[in-house]
């Protein structure tokens, strides 16, 4: 499936400045793996050292909160945001 990945500004700097990237994947975890294979600098932001998706990463398919293993359909938009911890 071809999906549009939209990256938060903080993340886009690790994707050659691109805020929108086209990725082929069947589900969110595949998408994150394929995305970070293309842009290795993103990996430390999206995954823990143990290789799991970091808990502060939030995924939204077509602007709706989605789990790490949620399936993707052709044309979906996956929005990736990081939690804002400060106050």
């Amino acid at each position: 499936m071809s999906v549009t990945v939209r990256l938060q500004l903080l993340l886009s700097q690790f994707a050659d400045g691109q805020e929108v990237v086209e990725i082929t994947a069947d589900n969110n975890i595949d998408c994150l793996n394929n995305l970070t294979a293309q842009f290795p600098g993103l990996r430390r932001w999206l995954f823990t050292k143990q290789g799991e998706v970091a808990t502060y990463v939030r995924l939204f398919i077509n602007r709706r909160q989605a789990s790490v293993d949620a399936e993707l359909k052709d044309g979906d938009e996956l929005l990736i945001l990081l939690a804002a911890v400060g106050g």
Binding site: Q8, R63, Q65, A66, L82, V85, G86
Partner: protein, 243 residues
């Protein structure tokens, strides 16, 4: 009951059709807890006091430092070394003497949180860490008190209103705790903006009009000036609010 002074002081917001004198009366009868007096809590407590919330409890266990002053607008150079709660009460009392402000100089823990939020009509998140947000979320869900969350990072911000048992709670959004990573970049304007949105939510919630960011998260990107609203999903297996 609104006084003659109230009718003058709050006259411009009373003019707002969906709010009126009844809305102002409701704010006057309300008790709001501001948890944390950093960048978020400084700005939110100012706007809550200006709006005429009858009783504001401000909670923080820290002292004012020079490095706070680029964003924590309630604390000034003369307050360095002072308890943040004392600094806050002094300013808020001058800003609006008709508002009752209760300072609680303590860190929020699982053992004291119940007493801190008891009797509140809403709790405003002014924390700078996720551990305390989880504590507040659990207590608010347990007590049925709305919890208005915000967070910032540099020029990024987020806001959502959590209505216990009706919307996703904080633990639905973050099923596990987060590792903290030292000092977070912060301009003054980002927490100020997010705090203003929190108070907008609080005023509507308490006065009973308008639509809330309930079940939705608003994200702000100050570098691109984008506001994005996404739908949050309740986790039926949530350890805090799951049914």
């Amino acid at each position: 009951m609104l006084t003659e002074s109230d009718l003058v002081r709050y006259g411009r917001q009373i003019l707002y059709t969906d709010f009126g004198e009844e809305g102002q009366r409701r704010l006057k009868q309300s008790h709001v807890v501001v948890a944390g007096l950093g960048g978020l809590g400084s700005a939110s407590s100012v706007y809550l006091a200006c709006a005429g919330i009858g009783h504001i409890t401000v909670v923080d266990g820290d002292f004012v430092e020079l490095s706070n002053l680029n964003r924590q607008i309630l604390h000034w150079e003369e307050d360095i070394g002072e308890r943040k709660t004392l600094s806050a009460v002094r300013k808020l009392a001058k800003l609006n003497p008709s508002v009752e402000v209760t300072p609680l100089f303590e860190r929020i823990t699982p053992s004291n949180v119940g007493g801190i939020i008891e009797g509140a009509h809403t709790v405003i998140d002014g924390m700078d860490n996720f551990e305390t947000r989880f504590i507040l979320n659990s207590a608010c869900v347990g007590a049925g008190i709305p919890f208005i969350h915000a967070g910032i990072n540099g020029l990024l911000g987020e806001v959502t209103t959590i209505i216990p048992r009706k919307t996703p709670c904080f633990a639905c959004i973050f099923p596990q705790g987060l590792a903290e990573e030292g000092a977070i970049p912060a301009f003054g304007v980002t927490p100020a903006l997010m705090a203003a949105l929190q108070v907008t939510e609080a005023v509507k919630l308490l006065a009973g009009f308008g639509d809330l960011l309930a079940g939705k998260m608003l994200y702000f990107n100050g570098e691109t000036m984008e506001f994005t609203v996404v739908d949050l999903v309740r986790n039926p297996e949530c350890s805090v609010c799951g049914f």
